[in-house]
């Protein structure tokens, strides 16, 4: 850590850890409801648990992205944040907004549109909040000593994410139009601009951890985010197959979403190649493990499993079944959760001055959580495929089929328990680092090596 103002990142990361834990709790509530133990139904019905589960995911990932930006940008442009106090204000207002929204869901107050459940008045607070964030980062970059591709890509990702939130706020009377613009937020976030954010963060980590020349790493970053937009923008079409939109979306969506895995494959090859090429043996091996894991798992979860049900002929039967939940879990984990955890694993020792890399607990956290998540994905895959065959292909009654697949949710819960243990270990590691402090200042760009005491 080189600048005082980078410390704020720690608090964003800490909030992310707390919200992530809560997300897991609500996941368990849903898992138990699915095997017949919906004992909390009167207080937390399934739709509340589901909204809280997905919204907390988004908020903790955003916390992670924002923390990452507050850490990366000063270092990339070589100056302190323009308004450190504004960053604090933004931090608290984001958390307050989030807590109010989640509270509302328990009292049947929401906008009630998948992933955009936040009650409309709170939407405006989100906008103000994100404006504060973008302004702070933007002005810091504007006044910075240098401009780098990494920081530009990261900033562009964050800026477009903010702009794309707006179409989701428009209220319309036609359900099809409603859905059409809802996907502008949801799809263009996770299969578009968030990949820019992820790419920017991954690029930064690779430069730091492998020591490969910045020019080389950044050139490939351009190509990969280029591929992302090339496939991802028109790939939105895979949400427009069966919602009352024109027929040509079947072809447009089918072709371009078939190209989407290429961007993720590129990302995986790129990260592995850079790591191999890198000569510097950075002592923080676990941060590199998370970075490479992220690149590989995002290909498996987002690229490969997405492709598995994105063709219109297949999607006709998988659309609206647990197959989507299967893909969703591994995609969000691989692409976004893991990049945030990688960033935390990298930045924490540098912010706190405690060199807790390469501890057995940190490795255990990585492997246990990943195996747990793969197990959950497997259980959902079996449940989803069975549901598709029995309900959609053979025409059996919905609830009859739900009872048939109930047993797979026991498997899901077991895998989720393993996952939780892994995340628990990560969080223990997090708090063992202690707080960010001034002694950690001075571990500068040229050497993360300073932090190692070389």
């Amino acid at each position: 850590m080189k600048y005082q103002s980078q410390k704020i990142a720690y608090w964003f990361f800490a909030a992310a850890m707390v919200l992530f834990s809560l997300q897991i709790v609500y996941g368990f509530i849903m898992g138990f409801a699915r095997i017949g133990y919906d004992v909390l139904h009167d207080w937390i019905p399934f739709n509340t648990a589901r909204a809280v589960h997905t919204n907390l995911l988004v908020v903790w990932l955003l916390c992670g992205f924002m923390g990452a930006a507050y850490y990366i940008i000063p270092e990339e442009v070589e100056r302190d944040l323009e308004w450190p106090k504004l960053a604090w204000l933004q931090y608290f207002s984001l958390l307050i907004d989030g807590v109010i929204a989640v509270g509302c869901y328990h009292f049947n107050i929401w906008e009630g549109r998948k992933f955009l459940e936040i009650p409309r008045p709170l939407d405006y607070l989100v906008v103000v909040n994100v404006l504060m964030f973008i302004a702070n980062i933007g002005v810091t970059m504007w006044k910075g000593k240098r401009s780098t591709t990494t920081s530009m890509v990261l900033f562009m990702g964050l800026l477009f994410a903010a702009l794309l939130y707006l179409p989701g706020m428009v209220q319309v009377r036609n359900q099809t139009v409603d859905s059409f613009y809802r996907w502008w937020v949801v799809h263009l976030w996770v299969e578009g601009v968030w990949e820019l954010i992820m790419g920017g963060m991954l690029c930064y980590l690779l430069i730091k951890l492998t020591g490969v020349d910045r020019e080389v790493v950044e050139k490939w970053l351009y190509l990969i985010v280029g591929l992302t937009f090339l496939s991802g923008i028109l790939g939105t079409g895979h949400h427009y197959y069966y919602i009352g939109t024109p027929r040509y979306w079947l072809i447009v969506g089918g072709v371009f979403s078939a190209l989407e895995p290429l961007a993720f494959l590129g990302m995986a090859i790129y990260a592995l190649a850079m790591a191999k090429r890198g000569e510097r043996k950075h002592p923080n091996r676990i941060a590199l493990t998370w970075s490479l894991g992220c690149a590989v798992m995002s290909f498996v979860g987002a690229g490969f499993l997405g492709m598995a049900h994105t063709l219109p002929q297949v999607n006709m039967y998988t659309h609206g079944t647990l197959v989507t939940a299967m893909h969703g879990h591994l995609a969000f984990w691989g692409a976004y959760a893991m990049i945030v955890l990688a960033m935390i694993a990298y930045a924490l020792p540098l912010m706190t001055g405690r060199k807790l890399w390469d501890t057995p607990l940190a490795s255990w956290a990585f492997w246990t959580s990943n195996i747990g998540m793969l197990g959950m994905t497997g259980a959902l895959a079996v449940a989803g495929i069975t549901q598709v065959n029995l309900e959609r292909r053979m025409g059996l009654d919905f609830m009859l089929v739900q009872k048939e697949i109930q047993v797979h949710f026991i498997g899901m819960l077991l895998a989720a328990a393993l996952f939780t243990v892994g995340i628990g270990m990560f969080i223990v590691m997090f708090f063992r680092h202690g707080l960010p402090n001034d002694e950690a200042l001075g571990t500068d760009v040229a050497g993360d090596l300073v932090a190692v005491g070389k």
Binding site: N47, W110, N174, D178, K219, L234, I243, P246, G320, M394
Partner: protein, 247 residues
């Protein structure tokens, strides 16, 4: 080998080109959607129904157009599948219709709200979804296709036609939750049927059969109808007969 500035050109150029294409297709879609969705049929009741749908986050359990959560049934064609009388009864007290099963929140909708929700779902059912949801392609291979030859009898009473068939089949048509009723008169007496339908829980606690409010006349009408059925249950639908054992 590609230089960094060429890579940047690829990124910026690709983004501009494909964003433009996306916006053009969006513009065209907005021109076509009113016809595809029968936008002119969006009455105030449909709009109110949509608000109720959103205010209660129905998508948090159900799917509509295949979008939502996967905890409760897909509702795009629900009006066609269940019929309005069944839906009205169900929305008044969802848990009563499926006792002991996965629960829906008791929203306590009034009559007007129920009508609005149904109007909204009916409008959704008529949107051109390019063939979604598809007819189950294997249904014919796994279910016995029965002609109505099995069951002859009186015409189905209104209540039976709209409510009971959601779970029970007659002549091979109807639900599969409860047993088929073609030959019920061979198994149950008139008194049995009257007592059972009037209050299933009192006879077999925990049964998924709901207690449906009906008048004495309606109850009689249904039992008369059931007693008039002279069919036998088609082989593939009938529960397996116990096999004779060797002595």
């Amino acid at each position: 080998m590609l230089s960094k500035s060429q890579a940047k050109t690829f990124f910026v150029g690709g983004t501009v080109v494909f964003s433009a294409a996306f916006l053009a297709l969006t513009y065209d879609s907005m021109q076509q959607i009113p016809a595809l969705t029968h936008d002119d049929k969006i009455t105030p009741a449909v709009e109110r129904g949509k608000m109720i749908w959103e205010d209660n986050n129905c998508m948090g359990c159900h799917t509509l157009f295949g979008e939502g959560a996967y905890y409760a049934p897909e509702l795009t064609k629900v009006v066609e599948r269940r019929g309005k009388p069944w839906l009205k009864l169900f929305l008044k007290d969802p848990q009563k219709m499926f006792p002991g099963e996965r629960k829906m929140v008791q929203y306590g909708f009034n009559e007007a709200q129920i009508d609005d929700v149904i109007a909204f779902l009916e409008w959704c059912g008529n949107v051109d979804l390019q063939g979604f949801p598809a007819k189950p392609p294997l249904a014919g291979k796994v279910q016995n296709v029965v002609s109505s030859g099995g069951a002859t009898g009186k015409p189905q009473p209104e209540l039976f036609r709209t409510i009971c068939v959601a779970c029970h089949a007659v002549g091979g048509a109807g639900g599969t939750v409860g047993p088929p009723l073609d030959d019920v008169r061979n198994r149950k007496s008139r008194a049995d049927m009257m007592a059972w339908i009037a209050n299933p829980q009192s006879i077999k606690p925990g049964t998924p059969m709901p207690k449906i409010d009906m008048s004495e006349a309606q109850l009689n009408e249904i039992v008369d109808f059931l007693l008039s059925l002279s069919g036998s249950v088609p082989a593939a639908v009938a529960p397996a007969q116990p096999q004779p054992t060797f002595e």
